[in-house]
Protein backbone atom coordinates (compact mmCIF):
# COMPACT_ATOMS: atom_id res chain seq x y z
CA UNK A 1 0.00 0.00 0.00
CA UNK A 2 1.13 3.53 -0.68
CA UNK A 3 2.18 5.69 2.22
CA UNK A 4 1.13 9.33 2.16
CA UNK A 5 3.28 11.70 4.19
CA UNK A 6 3.85 15.42 4.10
CA UNK A 7 7.33 16.83 3.73
CA UNK A 8 8.37 20.37 4.53
CA UNK A 9 11.58 22.21 3.83
CA UNK A 10 12.46 25.51 5.47
CA UNK A 11 15.25 27.79 6.61
CA UNK A 12 16.59 27.82 3.06
CA UNK A 13 16.45 24.02 2.53
CA UNK A 14 13.50 24.70 0.22
CA UNK A 15 15.87 26.39 -2.23
CA UNK A 16 17.05 22.91 -3.21
CA UNK A 17 13.46 21.95 -4.03
CA UNK A 18 12.48 24.67 -6.49
CA UNK A 19 11.63 26.93 -3.52
CA UNK A 20 8.61 24.76 -2.74
CA UNK A 21 8.24 24.39 1.01
CA UNK A 22 5.38 21.91 1.27
CA UNK A 23 5.22 18.59 -0.52
CA UNK A 24 2.52 15.96 -0.06
CA UNK A 25 4.03 12.71 -1.33
CA UNK A 26 2.89 9.14 -1.89
CA UNK A 27 5.59 6.63 -1.21
CA UNK A 28 5.21 3.34 -3.08
CA UNK A 29 4.81 0.19 -1.01
CA UNK A 30 8.12 -1.32 0.02
CA UNK A 31 8.56 -5.05 -0.59
CA UNK A 32 10.91 -5.64 2.29
CA UNK A 33 9.91 -3.97 5.50
CA UNK A 34 8.54 -0.57 6.49
CA UNK A 35 9.59 2.88 5.30
CA UNK A 36 12.12 4.52 7.58
CA UNK A 37 13.63 8.00 7.50
CA UNK A 38 16.75 6.41 6.03
CA UNK A 39 14.74 5.13 3.06
CA UNK A 40 12.91 8.43 2.83
CA UNK A 41 16.18 10.35 2.45
CA UNK A 42 17.16 8.19 -0.50
CA UNK A 43 13.72 8.62 -2.02
CA UNK A 44 13.89 12.42 -1.61
CA UNK A 45 17.32 12.51 -3.18
CA UNK A 46 16.12 10.49 -6.17
CA UNK A 47 12.67 11.98 -6.63
CA UNK A 48 12.38 15.47 -5.18
CA UNK A 49 15.79 17.07 -4.99
CA UNK A 50 16.38 19.50 -7.85
CA UNK A 51 20.02 20.40 -7.40
CA UNK A 52 23.24 19.93 -5.51
CA UNK A 53 22.44 16.83 -3.42
CA UNK A 54 25.55 17.40 -1.27
CA UNK A 55 23.82 20.41 0.24
CA UNK A 56 21.10 18.10 1.57
CA UNK A 57 22.52 14.66 2.27
CA UNK A 58 25.93 13.44 3.35
CA UNK A 59 26.46 9.70 3.39
CA UNK A 60 23.17 8.15 4.43
CA UNK A 61 22.05 11.04 6.64
CA UNK A 62 21.27 14.75 6.34
CA UNK A 63 24.19 17.13 6.13
CA UNK A 64 25.32 18.94 9.30
CA UNK A 65 23.17 22.00 9.99
CA UNK A 66 19.87 20.44 8.96
CA UNK A 67 17.49 19.53 11.75
CA UNK A 68 14.86 16.88 11.09
CA UNK A 69 11.49 17.04 12.80
CA UNK A 70 9.00 14.24 12.97
CA UNK A 71 5.54 15.51 13.81
CA UNK A 72 6.93 18.61 15.51
CA UNK A 73 9.54 16.75 17.55
CA UNK A 74 13.30 16.59 17.11
CA UNK A 75 14.03 13.31 15.28
CA UNK A 76 16.58 12.44 17.97
CA UNK A 77 13.58 11.76 20.23
CA UNK A 78 11.99 9.50 17.63
CA UNK A 79 14.78 7.15 16.60
CA UNK A 80 16.43 9.30 13.91
CA UNK A 81 17.15 7.34 10.72
CA UNK A 82 15.36 4.24 12.00
CA UNK A 83 12.01 5.91 12.67
CA UNK A 84 9.27 4.01 10.82
CA UNK A 85 7.01 6.29 8.84
CA UNK A 86 3.29 6.21 9.42
CA UNK A 87 0.52 7.47 7.19
CA UNK A 88 0.06 11.29 7.42
CA UNK A 89 3.34 11.84 9.25
CA UNK A 90 4.78 15.30 8.85
CA UNK A 91 8.52 15.34 8.33
CA UNK A 92 10.23 18.74 8.37
CA UNK A 93 13.76 19.51 7.26
CA UNK A 94 15.03 22.82 8.60
CA UNK A 95 18.25 24.43 7.68
CA UNK A 96 19.60 26.25 10.73
CA UNK A 97 19.80 30.00 10.31
CA UNK A 98 22.89 31.92 11.34
CA UNK A 99 22.10 35.48 10.30
CA UNK A 100 21.30 38.30 12.63
Amino acid sequence: MELVVSLEFSGGAELLFDKVKNHEVSLPARANGPWTIKHLLVWIKDNLLKERPELFVQGDTVRPGILVLINDADWELMGELNYELKSKDRIVFISTLHGG
Binding site: S10, G11, G12, K21, E51, E54, L55, R63, P64, G65, I66, L67, L69, D72, A73, D74, E76, L77, I94, S95, T96, L97, H98, G99, G100
Partner: protein, 452 residues
Protein backbone atom coordinates in the same frame (compact mmCIF):
# COMPACT_ATOMS: atom_id res chain seq x y z
CA UNK B 1 36.97 47.68 56.75
CA UNK B 2 33.91 46.10 55.16
CA UNK B 3 31.83 49.27 55.45
CA UNK B 4 34.70 51.38 54.21
CA UNK B 5 34.92 49.24 51.06
CA UNK B 6 31.20 49.47 50.67
CA UNK B 7 31.33 53.24 50.89
CA UNK B 8 34.17 53.46 48.39
CA UNK B 9 32.29 51.27 45.93
CA UNK B 10 29.21 53.41 46.34
CA UNK B 11 31.18 56.56 45.66
CA UNK B 12 32.81 54.99 42.62
CA UNK B 13 29.45 53.94 41.31
CA UNK B 14 28.10 57.45 41.70
CA UNK B 15 31.09 59.01 40.02
CA UNK B 16 30.90 56.53 37.15
CA UNK B 17 27.26 57.39 36.66
CA UNK B 18 28.16 61.08 36.60
CA UNK B 19 30.94 60.47 34.07
CA UNK B 20 28.57 58.52 31.86
CA UNK B 21 25.96 61.26 32.12
CA UNK B 22 28.50 63.93 31.19
CA UNK B 23 29.75 61.81 28.33
CA UNK B 24 26.24 61.48 27.01
CA UNK B 25 25.72 65.23 27.26
CA UNK B 26 29.02 65.91 25.58
CA UNK B 27 28.26 63.52 22.77
CA UNK B 28 24.89 65.11 22.22
CA UNK B 29 26.38 68.59 22.02
CA UNK B 30 29.24 67.32 19.93
CA UNK B 31 26.92 65.93 17.28
CA UNK B 32 28.50 62.55 18.02
CA UNK B 33 31.57 63.39 15.99
CA UNK B 34 33.89 62.21 18.74
CA UNK B 35 31.70 59.43 20.01
CA UNK B 36 34.31 56.75 20.19
CA UNK B 37 36.89 58.87 21.93
CA UNK B 38 34.57 60.28 24.54
CA UNK B 39 33.06 56.96 25.54
CA UNK B 40 34.63 55.47 28.61
CA UNK B 41 34.76 51.84 27.47
CA UNK B 42 35.33 51.41 23.79
CA UNK B 43 38.62 49.60 23.88
CA UNK B 44 38.94 45.87 24.27
CA UNK B 45 38.84 46.47 27.99
CA UNK B 46 36.86 43.49 29.23
CA UNK B 47 37.79 44.02 32.81
CA UNK B 48 34.84 46.15 33.72
CA UNK B 49 33.31 44.98 36.91
CA UNK B 50 29.72 45.71 37.74
CA UNK B 51 28.63 47.65 40.72
CA UNK B 52 28.41 45.09 43.41
CA UNK B 53 25.92 46.87 45.57
CA UNK B 54 22.61 45.16 44.98
CA UNK B 55 19.58 47.32 44.60
CA UNK B 56 17.27 46.34 47.45
CA UNK B 57 14.35 48.71 47.09
CA UNK B 58 12.66 50.47 44.21
CA UNK B 59 12.85 54.24 44.16
CA UNK B 60 9.69 56.25 43.60
CA UNK B 61 10.96 57.06 40.13
CA UNK B 62 11.37 53.36 39.36
CA UNK B 63 7.92 52.54 40.74
CA UNK B 64 6.36 55.16 38.48
CA UNK B 65 8.46 54.23 35.48
CA UNK B 66 7.91 50.47 35.58
CA UNK B 67 4.38 50.58 37.02
CA UNK B 68 2.73 48.81 34.07
CA UNK B 69 4.90 45.75 34.40
CA UNK B 70 5.24 46.08 38.17
CA UNK B 71 1.55 45.38 38.69
CA UNK B 72 1.81 42.07 36.89
CA UNK B 73 1.69 39.56 39.77
CA UNK B 74 4.27 37.40 37.99
CA UNK B 75 6.74 40.30 37.97
CA UNK B 76 5.98 42.45 41.00
CA UNK B 77 8.60 44.21 43.11
CA UNK B 78 10.62 41.01 43.28
CA UNK B 79 10.86 40.72 39.50
CA UNK B 80 11.64 44.39 38.98
CA UNK B 81 14.42 44.20 41.56
CA UNK B 82 15.75 41.06 39.87
CA UNK B 83 15.88 43.03 36.62
CA UNK B 84 17.55 46.00 38.27
CA UNK B 85 20.24 43.70 39.64
CA UNK B 86 20.70 41.70 36.46
CA UNK B 87 23.35 42.06 33.83
CA UNK B 88 22.87 40.90 30.27
CA UNK B 89 25.56 40.62 27.62
CA UNK B 90 24.26 41.14 24.10
CA UNK B 91 26.70 39.82 21.53
CA UNK B 92 26.00 41.49 18.21
CA UNK B 93 24.36 44.92 18.06
CA UNK B 94 22.66 44.25 14.74
CA UNK B 95 19.20 43.19 13.61
CA UNK B 96 18.61 40.96 16.64
CA UNK B 97 20.70 42.84 19.19
CA UNK B 98 19.07 46.23 18.58
CA UNK B 99 15.48 45.33 19.48
CA UNK B 100 16.65 43.01 22.26
CA UNK B 101 18.74 45.80 23.79
CA UNK B 102 15.95 48.33 23.44
CA UNK B 103 13.40 46.21 25.31
CA UNK B 104 15.86 45.12 27.97
CA UNK B 105 16.86 48.73 28.57
CA UNK B 106 13.22 49.79 28.62
CA UNK B 107 12.39 47.04 31.13
CA UNK B 108 14.97 48.38 33.58
CA UNK B 109 17.74 45.80 33.29
CA UNK B 110 20.54 46.94 35.58
CA UNK B 111 23.44 46.49 33.22
CA UNK B 112 23.67 45.83 29.50
CA UNK B 113 26.90 44.83 27.82
CA UNK B 114 26.77 45.59 24.10
CA UNK B 115 29.41 43.91 22.00
CA UNK B 116 30.05 44.40 18.30
CA UNK B 117 33.24 44.72 16.26
CA UNK B 118 31.53 46.60 13.45
CA UNK B 119 30.50 50.16 12.66
CA UNK B 120 27.06 51.37 11.60
CA UNK B 121 26.35 51.40 7.87
CA UNK B 122 23.39 52.86 6.04
CA UNK B 123 22.37 49.38 4.83
CA UNK B 124 22.00 48.32 8.48
CA UNK B 125 19.28 50.78 9.36
CA UNK B 126 16.33 48.93 7.84
CA UNK B 127 16.61 46.37 10.62
CA UNK B 128 19.11 47.61 13.18
CA UNK B 129 16.65 50.10 14.56
CA UNK B 130 18.67 51.30 17.53
CA UNK B 131 21.15 53.02 15.22
CA UNK B 132 20.41 56.25 13.40
CA UNK B 133 21.46 58.12 10.26
CA UNK B 134 23.51 60.45 12.42
CA UNK B 135 25.47 57.54 13.82
CA UNK B 136 26.53 55.96 10.52
CA UNK B 137 30.22 54.92 10.80
CA UNK B 138 30.11 55.08 14.61
CA UNK B 139 30.94 51.75 16.35
CA UNK B 140 27.71 49.79 16.71
CA UNK B 141 28.45 49.04 20.35
CA UNK B 142 28.70 52.75 21.19
CA UNK B 143 25.71 53.65 19.05
CA UNK B 144 23.61 50.96 20.74
CA UNK B 145 24.74 52.03 24.22
CA UNK B 146 23.92 55.61 23.36
CA UNK B 147 20.49 54.65 21.99
CA UNK B 148 19.64 52.56 25.05
CA UNK B 149 20.70 55.35 27.37
CA UNK B 150 18.55 57.81 25.51
CA UNK B 151 15.60 55.55 26.23
CA UNK B 152 16.60 54.76 29.78
CA UNK B 153 19.44 56.70 31.37
CA UNK B 154 19.37 54.58 34.50
CA UNK B 155 20.61 51.48 32.69
CA UNK B 156 24.34 50.97 32.83
CA UNK B 157 25.34 50.36 29.21
CA UNK B 158 28.82 49.08 28.51
CA UNK B 159 29.89 49.11 24.85
CA UNK B 160 32.58 46.68 23.73
CA UNK B 161 33.91 47.62 20.33
CA UNK B 162 35.71 44.37 19.62
CA UNK B 163 35.49 40.91 18.18
CA UNK B 164 34.58 38.18 20.64
CA UNK B 165 37.26 35.51 20.49
CA UNK B 166 38.63 32.53 22.39
CA UNK B 167 40.97 34.80 24.36
CA UNK B 168 38.49 37.33 25.69
CA UNK B 169 35.18 35.44 25.79
CA UNK B 170 35.32 33.71 29.15
CA UNK B 171 36.58 36.65 31.12
CA UNK B 172 33.82 38.79 29.67
CA UNK B 173 30.97 36.30 30.00
CA UNK B 174 31.74 35.56 33.63
CA UNK B 175 30.75 39.13 34.48
CA UNK B 176 27.22 38.71 33.19
CA UNK B 177 24.15 36.75 34.29
CA UNK B 178 22.58 36.06 30.90
CA UNK B 179 24.02 36.07 27.38
CA UNK B 180 22.17 36.81 24.14
CA UNK B 181 23.47 35.35 20.91
CA UNK B 182 22.60 38.03 18.36
CA UNK B 183 25.53 37.22 16.08
CA UNK B 184 25.59 36.64 12.36
CA UNK B 185 28.03 33.79 11.81
CA UNK B 186 28.59 30.15 12.64
CA UNK B 187 32.05 30.44 14.22
CA UNK B 188 30.92 32.98 16.83
CA UNK B 189 27.82 30.89 17.58
CA UNK B 190 29.96 27.86 18.47
CA UNK B 191 32.34 30.06 20.44
CA UNK B 192 29.51 31.63 22.44
CA UNK B 193 27.94 28.25 23.09
CA UNK B 194 31.12 26.72 24.42
CA UNK B 195 31.99 29.80 26.45
CA UNK B 196 28.51 29.83 28.01
CA UNK B 197 28.88 26.18 29.03
CA UNK B 198 32.27 26.87 30.59
CA UNK B 199 31.12 30.05 32.32
CA UNK B 200 27.78 28.41 33.28
CA UNK B 201 25.57 31.08 31.70
CA UNK B 202 22.24 30.63 29.96
CA UNK B 203 22.44 31.50 26.27
CA UNK B 204 19.43 32.94 24.51
CA UNK B 205 19.95 32.32 20.85
CA UNK B 206 18.17 34.00 17.96
CA UNK B 207 18.74 33.96 14.23
CA UNK B 208 17.03 35.34 11.15
CA UNK B 209 17.31 35.24 7.37
CA UNK B 210 15.00 36.25 4.55
CA UNK B 211 11.49 35.85 6.03
CA UNK B 212 12.33 33.29 8.69
CA UNK B 213 13.52 33.34 12.27
CA UNK B 214 14.54 30.82 14.90
CA UNK B 215 14.76 31.11 18.67
CA UNK B 216 15.87 28.83 21.48
CA UNK B 217 17.51 28.89 24.92
CA UNK B 218 20.66 26.83 25.46
CA UNK B 219 22.38 25.67 28.61
CA UNK B 220 19.46 26.42 30.90
CA UNK B 221 17.56 24.17 33.29
CA UNK B 222 19.57 21.18 32.13
CA UNK B 223 18.44 21.65 28.53
CA UNK B 224 20.65 21.00 25.51
CA UNK B 225 23.35 23.25 24.13
CA UNK B 226 24.03 24.27 20.55
CA UNK B 227 26.49 21.41 20.15
CA UNK B 228 23.96 18.85 21.40
CA UNK B 229 21.87 19.81 18.40
CA UNK B 230 24.64 20.49 15.94
CA UNK B 231 27.76 18.52 16.88
CA UNK B 232 29.31 19.21 13.47
CA UNK B 233 29.38 22.68 11.91
CA UNK B 234 27.60 23.04 8.57
CA UNK B 235 29.71 23.07 5.39
CA UNK B 236 30.60 26.75 4.81
CA UNK B 237 29.01 26.75 1.34
CA UNK B 238 25.60 25.98 2.90
CA UNK B 239 25.65 29.06 5.12
CA UNK B 240 23.96 32.17 3.80
CA UNK B 241 24.37 35.57 5.44
CA UNK B 242 21.95 38.51 5.38
CA UNK B 243 24.10 40.37 2.88
CA UNK B 244 23.75 37.60 0.29
CA UNK B 245 20.40 36.07 1.22
CA UNK B 246 18.60 39.24 2.22
CA UNK B 247 16.40 39.75 5.26
CA UNK B 248 13.19 41.65 5.86
CA UNK B 249 13.92 44.09 8.69
CA UNK B 250 11.00 43.19 10.90
CA UNK B 251 11.96 39.48 11.00
CA UNK B 252 15.06 39.88 13.20
CA UNK B 253 13.02 42.57 14.99
CA UNK B 254 10.49 39.97 16.08
CA UNK B 255 13.11 37.40 17.04
CA UNK B 256 15.19 40.01 18.90
CA UNK B 257 12.11 41.07 20.89
CA UNK B 258 11.48 37.43 21.77
CA UNK B 259 15.10 37.13 22.93
CA UNK B 260 14.49 40.08 25.27
CA UNK B 261 11.35 38.36 26.54
CA UNK B 262 13.24 35.12 27.21
CA UNK B 263 15.95 37.09 29.04
CA UNK B 264 13.33 38.75 31.25
CA UNK B 265 11.80 35.33 31.98
CA UNK B 266 15.17 33.84 32.87
CA UNK B 267 16.06 36.81 35.09
CA UNK B 268 12.68 36.85 36.87
CA UNK B 269 12.27 33.03 36.83
CA UNK B 270 8.97 33.28 34.98
CA UNK B 271 6.97 30.75 33.05
CA UNK B 272 8.30 28.34 30.47
CA UNK B 273 11.39 29.34 28.58
CA UNK B 274 12.47 28.00 25.23
CA UNK B 275 14.93 25.64 26.88
CA UNK B 276 14.75 22.35 24.98
CA UNK B 277 12.28 23.96 22.61
CA UNK B 278 12.80 25.69 19.28
CA UNK B 279 10.59 28.37 17.81
CA UNK B 280 10.33 28.44 14.03
CA UNK B 281 8.88 31.67 12.72
CA UNK B 282 7.94 31.97 9.07
CA UNK B 283 6.96 35.54 8.35
CA UNK B 284 5.89 34.85 4.79
CA UNK B 285 3.53 32.03 5.76
CA UNK B 286 2.55 33.80 8.97
CA UNK B 287 3.30 30.82 11.18
CA UNK B 288 4.89 30.35 14.57
CA UNK B 289 5.70 26.76 15.37
CA UNK B 290 7.28 25.42 18.54
CA UNK B 291 8.99 22.08 18.45
CA UNK B 292 10.34 19.85 21.16
CA UNK B 293 14.08 19.38 21.08
CA UNK B 294 16.28 16.54 22.30
CA UNK B 295 17.44 16.77 25.93
CA UNK B 296 21.03 17.59 26.87
CA UNK B 297 23.18 14.92 25.25
CA UNK B 298 25.32 12.89 27.62
CA UNK B 299 27.72 12.38 24.76
CA UNK B 300 28.05 16.12 23.98
CA UNK B 301 31.71 17.09 23.70
CA UNK B 302 31.20 20.31 25.63
CA UNK B 303 28.21 19.93 27.98
CA UNK B 304 28.09 16.10 28.17
CA UNK B 305 29.10 13.87 31.04
CA UNK B 306 32.68 13.50 29.86
CA UNK B 307 33.41 16.64 27.87
CA UNK B 308 36.46 16.56 25.64
CA UNK B 309 36.32 20.28 24.84
CA UNK B 310 37.23 21.97 28.12
CA UNK B 311 39.02 24.99 26.72
CA UNK B 312 37.92 27.36 24.00
CA UNK B 313 39.33 26.35 20.64
CA UNK B 314 39.96 28.06 17.30
CA UNK B 315 36.39 28.40 16.04
CA UNK B 316 37.21 29.83 12.63
CA UNK B 317 39.27 26.74 11.99
CA UNK B 318 36.64 24.43 13.50
CA UNK B 319 33.92 25.90 11.27
CA UNK B 320 36.10 26.59 8.25
CA UNK B 321 34.62 30.07 8.06
CA UNK B 322 35.27 33.57 9.33
CA UNK B 323 33.84 34.92 12.56
CA UNK B 324 32.09 37.76 10.74
CA UNK B 325 29.71 38.07 7.83
CA UNK B 326 31.81 40.50 5.84
CA UNK B 327 32.24 39.97 2.16
CA UNK B 328 35.58 38.52 1.23
CA UNK B 329 37.23 38.51 -2.16
CA UNK B 330 37.93 35.20 -3.82
CA UNK B 331 40.92 34.78 -6.09
CA UNK B 332 39.89 31.89 -8.29
CA UNK B 333 41.20 33.14 -11.60
CA UNK B 334 44.56 34.13 -12.99
CA UNK B 335 45.00 37.86 -13.67
CA UNK B 336 44.86 37.24 -17.46
CA UNK B 337 41.34 35.87 -17.04
CA UNK B 338 40.13 39.08 -15.49
CA UNK B 339 39.63 42.65 -16.59
CA UNK B 340 39.17 45.74 -14.46
CA UNK B 341 36.05 47.89 -14.44
CA UNK B 342 38.07 50.65 -16.12
CA UNK B 343 39.17 48.29 -18.88
CA UNK B 344 35.59 47.28 -19.44
CA UNK B 345 34.67 50.94 -19.61
CA UNK B 346 37.08 51.53 -22.49
CA UNK B 347 35.78 48.41 -24.27
CA UNK B 348 32.30 49.91 -24.12
CA UNK B 349 33.58 53.35 -25.14
CA UNK B 350 35.42 52.02 -28.17
CA UNK B 351 32.42 49.87 -29.06
CA UNK B 352 34.56 46.72 -29.20
CA UNK B 353 32.37 43.70 -29.87
CA UNK B 354 31.87 41.53 -26.80
CA UNK B 355 29.22 39.63 -24.88
CA UNK B 356 28.41 40.65 -21.30
CA UNK B 357 26.78 38.12 -18.99
CA UNK B 358 25.41 39.19 -15.64
CA UNK B 359 25.25 36.22 -13.26
CA UNK B 360 23.15 37.85 -10.53
CA UNK B 361 19.54 36.99 -9.75
CA UNK B 362 16.82 38.69 -11.83
CA UNK B 363 15.68 40.58 -8.70
CA UNK B 364 19.16 42.10 -8.50
CA UNK B 365 19.15 42.97 -12.19
CA UNK B 366 16.01 44.95 -11.61
CA UNK B 367 17.86 47.08 -9.05
CA UNK B 368 20.61 48.05 -11.47
CA UNK B 369 22.52 46.59 -14.39
CA UNK B 370 24.93 47.45 -17.17
CA UNK B 371 23.37 48.00 -20.60
CA UNK B 372 23.21 45.05 -22.96
CA UNK B 373 23.90 42.39 -20.35
CA UNK B 374 22.58 38.87 -20.76
CA UNK B 375 21.30 37.37 -17.57
CA UNK B 376 22.27 33.85 -16.50
CA UNK B 377 21.99 33.53 -12.70
CA UNK B 378 24.98 31.72 -11.19
CA UNK B 379 22.66 29.01 -9.87
CA UNK B 380 21.59 28.19 -13.45
CA UNK B 381 24.99 28.26 -15.09
CA UNK B 382 25.43 24.50 -14.79
CA UNK B 383 22.02 23.81 -16.27
CA UNK B 384 21.96 22.16 -19.66
CA UNK B 385 19.30 24.47 -21.13
CA UNK B 386 21.28 27.58 -20.19
CA UNK B 387 24.48 26.18 -21.59
CA UNK B 388 22.70 25.23 -24.81
CA UNK B 389 21.31 28.73 -25.22
CA UNK B 390 24.70 30.24 -24.64
CA UNK B 391 26.38 27.77 -26.99
CA UNK B 392 23.91 28.74 -29.70
CA UNK B 393 24.57 32.42 -29.12
CA UNK B 394 28.33 31.87 -29.27
CA UNK B 395 28.05 29.88 -32.48
CA UNK B 396 26.47 32.95 -34.06
CA UNK B 397 29.26 35.12 -32.68
CA UNK B 398 32.71 35.57 -34.12
CA UNK B 399 35.38 33.40 -32.44
CA UNK B 400 37.41 36.40 -31.44
CA UNK B 401 34.59 38.05 -29.51
CA UNK B 402 35.29 37.80 -25.79
CA UNK B 403 32.68 36.99 -23.15
CA UNK B 404 32.77 39.03 -19.94
CA UNK B 405 31.06 37.92 -16.76
CA UNK B 406 29.93 40.30 -14.09
CA UNK B 407 28.25 40.05 -10.68
CA UNK B 408 27.84 42.21 -7.60
CA UNK B 409 31.32 41.92 -6.08
CA UNK B 410 33.38 39.79 -8.39
CA UNK B 411 33.18 36.41 -6.66
CA UNK B 412 30.33 34.66 -8.48
CA UNK B 413 31.64 35.98 -11.79
CA UNK B 414 34.88 34.05 -11.19
CA UNK B 415 32.94 30.90 -10.38
CA UNK B 416 31.02 31.44 -13.59
CA UNK B 417 34.17 31.85 -15.68
CA UNK B 418 35.53 28.64 -14.20
CA UNK B 419 32.31 26.79 -14.91
CA UNK B 420 31.97 28.05 -18.48
CA UNK B 421 35.61 27.40 -19.33
CA UNK B 422 34.97 23.81 -18.34
CA UNK B 423 31.48 23.31 -19.74
CA UNK B 424 32.10 25.16 -23.01
CA UNK B 425 35.71 24.21 -23.54
CA UNK B 426 34.87 23.27 -27.12
CA UNK B 427 34.08 26.90 -27.86
CA UNK B 428 37.00 29.11 -28.97
CA UNK B 429 35.76 32.18 -27.11
CA UNK B 430 37.63 33.71 -24.20
CA UNK B 431 35.78 33.98 -20.87
CA UNK B 432 36.87 36.67 -18.43
CA UNK B 433 35.32 38.32 -15.40
CA UNK B 434 35.14 41.92 -14.33
CA UNK B 435 37.29 42.31 -11.27
CA UNK B 436 35.30 43.50 -8.25
CA UNK B 437 32.00 43.37 -10.15
CA UNK B 438 29.47 46.18 -10.11
CA UNK B 439 30.85 47.48 -6.81
CA UNK B 440 34.12 48.19 -8.63
CA UNK B 441 32.18 49.75 -11.54
CA UNK B 442 30.50 52.10 -9.12
CA UNK B 443 33.73 52.88 -7.30
CA UNK B 444 36.06 53.39 -10.26
CA UNK B 445 33.90 54.22 -13.28
CA UNK B 446 30.42 55.50 -12.54
CA UNK B 447 29.97 56.83 -9.03
CA UNK B 448 26.27 57.36 -9.77
CA UNK B 449 25.84 53.62 -10.19
CA UNK B 450 23.96 52.26 -7.16
CA UNK B 451 25.61 49.99 -4.61
CA UNK B 452 23.56 47.48 -2.65
Amino acid sequence: MESELHELRRQLQEKTKEINRLNLLLREKDGLGNLDVTLPFTSADTNVSHPDIPCETLSNASIARYSRQLILPEVGVKGQLALANASVLIVGAGGLGCPAALYLAAAGTGCLGLLDYDTVELSNLHRQVLHTEQRVSVPKSSSAAFGCNQLNSTVRCIPYHMQLDSQNALQLLRQYDVVLDCTDNVATRYLLNDACIMAKKPLISGSALRFEGQLTVYNYQDGPCYRCLYPTPPPPETVTNCSDGGVLGVIPGIIGCLQALEAVKVICSLGNTYSQRLLLFDGLEGTFRTIKLRPRQQSCVVCGDNPSVTKLIDYEQFCGSRANDKEHSLELLKPEDRISAKEYQSIVKEKLPHLLIDVRLPVEQEICSLPGAWNIPIGDIHKEECLEKLRKKLQETDDSVPVYLVCRRGNDSQEAVKALKEKLKDMPHKFKDIYGGLHAWSKHVDTDFPVY
